[in-house]
Subunit: 611 residues, 2 copies
């Protein structure tokens, strides 16, 4: 599976029905690419070609089916153009359709597909051809606009008042008003009603994702994902808050400016590609964890990092773009999606909104795994949430050859018999390290071949499978050679310990939430796995290492960047924004670290039980 | 009446019941001083001691009665401490009470006097002793505040969010919230509920007046009046707009910065004197003519100065103090009082509000005379307004020895027989020139002694009274020697012409409004004369020169700085602010310059008819 030729050039990928247009490198794996760009796509094998779920309908760029596709798709499906996205290596421009995920998200996907029904962004543009003033008509400019719109009262912000007299007279009192309820956000000369855009942002600790949407049609005009520039101040939320402790106001300002300027760069790139004016973006919805949103708004996050973990803000709030320094229309409104608690943030609110957990009669579990794992269990009657510190192991930190899920990372591993480990590397390049999903696969596979025991010890007996790959390092600790294609990549005993702590934290969180609710495993209808992690990771491996209780594998459903999708919902429909607020208020949060049985459950969860 | 000794030192003047404290110079005339500082005080002789109306109740600083006081006040009144303010020369600290003006303003004055009933500024401070967070209480800071206030939803502006976590923890979660409806304007450590202040401002073309009020009690904490710093860019609105034509955006910005920095200086002086923090001012109400308010907000005024005279804004609007650059609490709200048309502004709306014309069953006339004269005629059923360009003659411009109503200006003139003209000079100093009220008096008196004929010609016949004071200037035009105490001060034939144009414009405006309404003179109940002009001017003289139709003199009522008083009403009571908006919408404006019979009426009005 490994190729060492660099991608030659790039192609255009068009995704229907939204007509998103993305640039994609020659040779890219389509499944990985879609996941990385926040598309929700089913998969349980993590792109190994073995589950047959990551199907897409190819409208352009169709190639003869692979062996795996012939196994998983019927002849009729193949003839229609269905293919498995994990089997596609890009070599030309592609137009394709991503099918909806499942019944629960069907309504949401429908919303995305049939936007003429549900599109209600809370703002609109109206073109007016007003009468020119004269001796018989001395109405002030603003009253002329109000009467043109047929509204009794209208608030005009100062920046709009200041442009009104000039703008009205450029095209003989033909002008377009952008309004949000009874507030004028903009007045422009001539008819610009076609240019009404919005941006949904998910500010992750590691990655910032942005979706540019046309608020007249619901069409996605562009998607971008980039590193959170705050990473240079520290990899995780604790390190970022530490920066505020050390540099107070100035440090807070630095962190805000970093993320805001990163988002501004993203805005300019999105607008340039879509050939629209940044000033025509009037609405932004923002999801993110509480620390990220405190830093984005330059609100002191220092009370979040120590007991009793108090954020300043929980409720949703709106702020003017100019006040935040976002380079869109200065009167554009920035909607900060409500959070649930100091560690369960707007990203979770948005994700739950997207999965529809809050409106389901069935009991569902929502999991977002990163440095912290956030867990929401509930249905339309009641929701329970907690957060558990998984540590940075899944993001590559503290792991000897760990790295983030970027090109060169080993994302999947299969071991069988004593053959070479079968590796899948992001970007199809020489392996440089192991990312979270690779680590989980590797340890799960090593457990399968019994080279790791129940307590997590890497065994050194010569009679075991792969025993030759196990050596002792300078500290006489055992290590497993994963690859030596370029440089040797090892999994160390210490790495396994780090993973045990991480998976133990998640497992104990899930067990305790289920216990608190009084739910048995069989009561759970769906376990949503949010985030890139949920898409990349092989569900079999997750279950094998015991990171989750033994759910039937088909109940585990990856939902991609659920936070970004939820932010898009709030962008397109003001009702969803209100629902997000209600949802956030309904969820009962409980602090896992105060939970009496926590230590017991945690220690219990460290071991590798049941293969 | 003229003294040439300079004031030696200053005293404190306390005005009840508001307890305003003002600094007053030794030797100042109390009537003049009160008028200049925006107090509404009755007078029909303009401070000559002949009408007996400018009475005040002296609580401290009482002196034996003057001859005039013995004529106009009963022994009981004298014993109670009643005196005529025009008879008081300040020589010690004074405490006094200014009585209410008349029945129409009684309700308003009552409001001022009994503020515990009508005080409703639309914002309040609430002190909260909140529970500290703990394991059992992880509520976010803002939710803690909301629940402390017992409100479901609360908007926290970014600047407040940014201080919340620090402020709450300074005094162990004892904090004061300043709120306006469901919006938090401020959060402070400890109990600051006593510190809730507001500012009413009247931005005149010449003068800016400011009133600092305690919004908890209604008490006036200080009053200041100062030159509008924009005067250096031009004396009148036309000159200021010309500056914008010549320098576009930069010129507009310059004019805004001038007035805003002037107001900021005033704020700091008022706060220093009253020993309060500018950050404790949370509400500002602003009256002013349309050009002044466009310039104050840096909104382009250029469409106002030419037909069809279109302002940008008419409706009332609120703007954040920070956005305007006012140095009060950054989240403080600035209420711009609504205007009626491009030339009938917020000052007139506020003035009419103060006189209660809009709620009266009787028909009243409201006149504000400056460079333009604004005229409102109406009752609670219907109101009609127009504006007429009186020109700058009343403010001293275009008059040979004209000057504004500042120390050294001849404010009043009496002629009788052939004795020396009896002059009253502002500040009791050597006369340096003539201000508007002096000019009107002088011409009225010259008409009385028949030295000016009906057509406005200054006569030169030797057999007339004062004939010796009439000489010919270098252009062989006749001129009247008013004073030669220091340098000779003349009234020229050209000066009389200027006054004729000014009074003709006003008279024709009033005549046309009455005609449009279909009202006869006897239908009018009260003629309110707003502004310093209305207080200074002698009503007899106004009638004698025919500036107004021949109303019975007792119907003419000066109401002082009605605009400032109206702004105070809006500051103290949110209901008055709403009434101001309704009032502004109800007034029908008509453009005098488009009126068909205007030229005829105007020419007719130029002559001096009926003595």
């Amino acid at each position: 599976m490994i190729r060492d030729t660099a991608p030659a050039n790039s192609h255009v990928l068009t995704i229907l029905p939204q007509e998103d247009k993305l640039e994609i490198e020659e040779g890219e794996n389509l499944f990985r690419f879609l996941v990385r760009h926040g598309y929700s796509i089913l998969s349980s094998c993590g792109g190994m070609g073995s589950c047959g779920k990551c199907r897409v309908l190819m409208h352009k760029g169709l190639k003869p089916p692979t062996e795996s596709e012939e196994v998983h798709l019927s002849q009729v499906e193949l003839d229609q153009g269905w293919r498995l996205s994990c089997q596609q290596r890009v070599s030309c421009d592609i137009v394709l359709e991503v099918p909806r995920i499942d019944e629960t998200t069907q309504a949401k996907e429908l919303l995305k597909h049939e936007l003429h029904i549900a599109l209600d962004p809370g703002m609109e543009k109206v073109y007016l051809e007003l009468a020119s003033p004269g001796k018989e008509d001395q109405r002030p400019d603003t009253l002329r606009i109000q009467e043109g719109l047929g509204v009794e009262r209208m608030a005009f912000p100062l920046s709009v008042l200041r442009k009104v007299p000039r703008v009205l007279r450029v095209k003989n009192f033909g002008a377009t008003v952008t309004k949000e309820e009874d507030r004028a956000l903009d007045v422009e000369s001539g008819d610009t009603t076609g240019a009404l855009y919005g941006l949904a942002i998910d500010i992750g600790t590691t990655t910032v994702a942005g979706y540019l949407l046309n608020l007249n049609t619901g069409q996605v005009m562009g998607v971008r994902s980039q590193m959170n520039p705050q990473k240079s101040f520290g990899a995780d939320v604790i390190a970022r808050i530490k920066h505020v402790y050390e540099h107070a106001e100035a440090g807070l300002k630095e962190l805000q400016e970093a993320v805001v300027s990163g988002i501004n760069r993203m805005i300019h790139q999105l607008c340039q590609t879509a050939t629209i004016e940044p000033a025509h973006i009037y609405k932004v919805t923002v999801a993110g964890n509480p620390t990220m949103l405190h830093l984005f708004t330059a609100v002191d996050p220092r009370q979040i990092d120590h007991s009793p973990y108090i954020p300043v803000l929980r409720d949703g709030t709106t702020i003017s773009a100019e006040e935040l320094g976002l380079e869109i229309n200065p009167e554009g409104r920035v909607y900060i999606i409500p959070a649930i608690s100091g560690y369960v943030g707007a990203d979770i609110t948005a994700g739950v909104l997207f999965t529809n957990l809050h409106q389901s009669s069935k009991l569902n579990l929502f999991l977002d795994i990163g440095t912290n794992a956030e867990i929401v269990l509930g249905n339309r009657e009641r929701m329970l949430a907690c957060s558990t510190p998984a540590g940075p192991a899944f993001e590559g930190a503290l792991i000897k050859h760990g790295m983030s899920a970027t090109p060169g990372a080993i994302a999947h591993v299969s071991l069988s018999g004593d053959s070479e480990p079968k590796l899948e590397v992001i970007g199809n390049s020489i392996p440089k390290g192991i990312c979270g999903s690779g680590l989980i696969d590797l340890i799960a596979e090593l457990r399968k071949v019994e080279l790791i025991n129940e307590k997590g010890k890497l065994l050194t007996q010569d009679n075991l499978h792969y025993a030759k790959r196990v050596t002792l390092n300078e500290q006489s600790q055992p290590q497993f050679l994963v690859s030596d294609e370029d440089k040797p990549i090892y999994l160390t005993q210490q790495d396994i310990r780090e993973l045990q702590l991480a998976k133990g934290a998640i497992r104990s969180g899930v067990d305790i939430v289920l216990h608190e609710w009084g739910a048995a495993l069989e009561d759970i209808d769906v376990v949503y796995l949010a985030g890139a992690f949920g898409n990349y990771v092989r569900r079999e491996s997750v279950l094998r290492i015991g990171m989750l209780p033994p759910f039937p594998i088909e109940k585990l459903k990856p939902v991609g960047n659920a936070a970004g999708q939820g932010a898009k919902l709030c962008l397109l429909n003001q009702g969803e924004w209100i629902k997000a607020q209600e949802l956030a208020e309904q969820v009962q949060y409980f602090e896992l670290s105060y939970y009496k049985g926590f230590s017991d459950t945690f220690i219990e969860s460290l071991y590798f039980k049941g293969i």
